[in-house]
């Protein structure tokens, strides 16, 4: 029955404003041509003056220190230093990509479309949340490297002594607190659950016992920080009246992400030296792992 078809508010392409249009040839094609030409020339020039790296032949017996992933994965490698490997390497990026893909389904308002920072207060939100993401990520990295505790001690002679040593970084919570033995092995399954056998490196994969301090430090605290701090920022901005629409919330979230992602990539690339220690870029040396030449 034709009347049963209900018109849903599905967004359709906008009507064209023909009097506002220009011809693609030449107005657009030439812009594209010039930018392609500029990039070709720049890349030719770059390739002429700078060679792609080629080190010694691959050798499984010689491990360079530090060993690093390609630069665009160093953000994940940096996260890996602070938490459980599965979370840093797989779960967080996967969940984030899903959230990223879901942006348009969350923010369905068409306000501010097609213009840079088209909504009210967009520039302010972008700048402030980017600064928060930038500073926050650096502070967390400093704290977890133990540098903050070291600086407080070296420059201000402030030291918590052994009493507060557990606050030095996230690992210290696991190592410096007097956890009872039972908490390190809480049986939560009456049987030994085998997920995947024969994976080669570590034999049968089994889940039966929970190491509570380990779980707290490797999973609970990192996830609380990564989910909690952005939520806290968005909540605070909402209470301040800066965030009103869903677009505003996404602006804050995305800008914070870009800044934080940038810092993680930068730290992973330029600030991680031997043993993944936090060093200045000019102190960064790679040992090729050849005995006698380290």
């Amino acid at each position: 029955m034709a009347t049963a078809v209900v018109a849903r508010p599905v967004a359709r392409p906008q009507a064209r404003a023909r009097d506002e249009e220009v011809l693609v040839w030449p107005d657009l094609v030439f812009v594209e041509f010039i930018s392609a030409l500029l990039f070709t020339v720049t890349l030719f020039f770059l390739s002429a003056v700078m060679n792609a790296p080629l080190l010694d032949q691959a050798n499984a017996d010689v491990t360079p220190n530090p060993s690093k992933a390609p630069w665009y994965l160093l953000n994940l490698q940096e996260l890996l230093l602070h938490m459980n490997a599965a979370m840093a390497g797989i779960i967080i990026p996967t969940v984030w990509l899903i959230i990223l893909g879901a942006f348009p389904y969350f923010d369905r308002d068409n306000d501010g479309q097609g213009v840079w920072f088209g909504t009210e207060g967009a520039v302010k939100l972008t700048i402030v949340s980017a600064i928060i993401g930038f500073v926050g990520t650096w502070l967390l990295i400093f704290w977890d490297s133990g540098k903050i505790a070291a600086w407080l001690n070296d420059y201000f002679a402030v030291s918590g002594g052994d009493t507060f040593r557990f606050l030095e970084n996230v690992r210290a919570l696991q190592q410096q607190l007097p956890w009872p033995d039972w908490s390190r092995e809480i049986t939560y399954l009456p049987f030994n659950l085998r997920i995947l056998d024969g994976t080669g490196t570590s034999g049968p994969t089994a889940f039966q016992n929970l190491d509570f301090p380990g779980w707290l430090v490797e999973q609970a605290i990192p996830i609380a920080v990564i989910v909690g701090l952005p939520c806290l920022m968005i909540y605070a901005m909402w209470r301040l009246g800066w965030i009103v629409t869903r677009r505003d919330a996404l602006l804050a979230l995305f800008s914070g992400f870009v800044a934080s992602y940038g810092v993680l990539t930068l730290v992973g690339t330029a600030f991680r030296g031997q043993g993944q220690d936090l060093v200045f870029p000019w102190d960064l040396k790679v040992s090729e792992g050849i005995p006698g030449q380290e």
């Binding site: 359709r12 392409p13 906008q14 064209r16 023909r18 506002e20 220009v22 011809l23 693609v24 040839w25 030449p26 107005d27 657009l28 812009v31 594209e32 930018s35 990039f39 070709t40 890349l43 030719f44 390739s47 002429a48 700078m50 060679n51 792609a52 080629l54 080190l55 010694d56 032949q57 691959a58 499984a60 491990t63 360079p64 060993s67 690093k68 992933a69 390609p70 630069w71 994965l73 599965a86 797989i90 990509l97 990223l100 893909g101 942006f103 348009p104 389904y105 068409n110 306000d111 501010g112 479309q113 097609g114 213009v115 840079w116 920072f117 088209g118 995947l196 490196t201 995305f254 090729e288």
Partner: protein, 250 residues
């Protein structure tokens, strides 16, 4: 009675006429020289490469600061990488015995080999950066909003494919940088819950980076992932047109 005779065509006119108004030329390019609005629209609509574009476009969208050409440049990098990649494939054999030697040959004995390799490398980095910046542009101009929701999702998939394309290419030089970067990278993949070890094994064709990993990465890098990326790019570009071109204010 004075009769006005038209001026005789100059030599340049004659050459022009011979070149562009002959049977063969007209069989290739059906439209005339694009110096009238009609021909300018026809040249875009009837050319297989240019017909990705509409014939006319809103005036705000040709401003360079609106898009900075980031999406187009990402695609341009993909094309450049294909060209330089094919040239490198002539000289490169993905076996543990030959890969590194071939790299040395490319950089020392092959004419323009070093240049081709450099171009391929820097273009790959540029593509990762450009794709990311393109995503930022789309986000900050609110261009992911209706009716372009799905195209944003396709874009996120293309971002992942770009990372994977670059990652699989990283192993191919078979030097220390490649070997250990892939070892670290695949260890990250291997840490996934439940499926991690299997994924790592499947990627590497073994428990560690070796001959089987090289051929797998090579195959993915030169045909598997580019094909997949091309399919998603086709959808991406098609949807731009179907969704009404670039986003503009309501």
């Amino acid at each position: 009675m004075a009769v006005e005779t038209p001026a005789k065509p100059s030599l340049a006119d004659k050459i022009y006429d011979k070149m562009f108004h002959n049977y063969v030329w007209k069989s290739i390019f059906r439209t005339g020289y694009p110096n009238t609005p009609r021909n300018q629209m026809l040249v875009v609509a009837t050319n297989v490469f240019l017909h990705l574009h509409p014939t006319r476009i809103h005036r705000t969208h040709v401003k360079i600061t609106h898009t900075y050409c980031l999406g187009g440049l990402s695609f341009f990098m993909f094309l450049g990488l294909t060209v330089t990649g094919i040239l490198l494939m002539f000289y490169y054999v993905p076996s543990v015995e030959r890969a590194y030697l071939d790299m040395q040959n490319i950089t020392t004995t092959v004419q323009f080999g070093q240049l081709m390799r450099n171009m391929h490398r820097w273009m790959a980095h540029a593509m990762v950066i450009l794709v990311f910046l393109h995503m930022m542009r789309v986000f900050y101009t609110g261009a992911y909003k209706a009716p372009r929701e799905f195209n944003w999702v396709v874009g996120v998939i293309l971002l992942v494919l770009t990372f994977l394309l670059s990652f699989t290419g990283y192993l191919l030089p078979w030097d220390q940088l490649a070997f250990w970067a892939i070892t670290v990278g695949t260890n990250i993949a291997g840490s996934a819950p439940v499926l991690g070890p299997k994924t790592r094994f499947w990627l590497l064709g073994g428990f560690e980076v070796g001959p089987d990993s090289l051929i797998r990465f090579y195959t993915l890098h030169v045909i598997g992932l580019p094909l997949l990326a091309a399919i998603f790019m086709a959808v991406h570009f098609w949807r731009i047109r179907r969704d009404g071109g670039l986003a503009r204010p309501l």
